[in-house]
Symmetry: C2
């Protein structure tokens, strides 16, 4: 069932994504073109405070035209391990530091055309400190009991893939029936 890349046309190289058109040879030996959005990959972190709250960020997302509630997240920098990215982004966006980071899940956001893979981690033993946002980053930190955050998935108030996956598996991790 495999496809093979015959030719790559680089259409755009940007800060967040690159766009390429790949000519592929199909299993039936015919050629076809595939639009590929290249992304370095990212992380999401489900940070849980000592009293069982999850630390979330609210930010306006121009691609959706809405303010979304998400887990802290960011993209991988060159040569950075996902775990390091998770620790760095958690600190930058929420001020919390930790060394206690546990892998939860990894997934492709939309494998039909996009290379982005997100690693989601669970972070505990949080130590409060100062945020360190990028110059053009505006967000509000929000702490909610994990169960309340999960309810926002059920009601459709949380609509971000990494946040749905992170919170749901953090809940499953500790058992829904505790």
């Amino acid at each position: 069932m495999e496809e093979f890349v015959i030719k790559t046309e680089n259409l755009y190289e940007g800060k967040i994504v690159n766009l390429k058109i790949e000519t592929v040879e199909l299993p039936n030996k015919k050629y076809s073109k595939r639009e590929i959005v290249e992304h370095p990959g990212g992380v999401g972190v489900v940070p849980i405070t000592e009293d069982g709250k999850v630390v979330l960020v609210k930010q306006f997302r121009i691609a959706t035209g809405k303010t979304l509630i998400e887990i802290p997240a960011g993209k991988l920098e060159p040569n950075e391990e996902p775990k390091e990215t998770a620790i760095r982004e958690l600190k930058e966006e929420t001020g919390y530091s930790t060394e206690n980071i546990k892998f939860l899940k990894e997934f492709y956001v939309s494998p039909g055309y996009c290379t982005e893979k997100i690693n989601v981690f669970l972070a505990t033993d949080l130590v409060a400190g100062d945020q360190n946002l990028d110059e053009n980053e505006f967000l509000e930190v929000l702490e909610l009991p994990l169960e309340q955050a999960y309810e926002k998935i059920e009601t459709g108030e949380i609509t971000d893939a990494k946040t749905i996956i992170g919170i749901t598996f953090a809940m499953l991790e500790k058992g829904f029936n505790e």
Copy 2:
């Protein structure tokens, strides 16, 4: 916290995605540029057979360089309701027809730069029939007990966001403890 679009530069219009650079006015009144991947949105379907199996598709995804196991899925055609897309794609990719489609969850795949929103449905009362694949579509249909599919999420063998979300919420829907 909102941002406002000041200028839009259309860089590419394709079959699956468009690429735009938006100049936005930030909350601090400064300007910044945002790379936006525009996608019409898609659906995923968790089709459950009478004997409790979930119908999955295996296909090679050039963006990941791998063959992935996914729920049947596809993108919205112009003026198509997500429910119609779900029924159409289920039939095209697996041969199964149904009118019994229930909304499970909707999510943005990567709201930092991408407009794609996926609606995931649960499909039951399946009637077997013939597949009707697109000319350049090659996939293998696979039926697994729902619990076995969920195990493949736990082991990391299933790594597609819509498939993780669809199967997990289909499991939660029927109760993990049945």
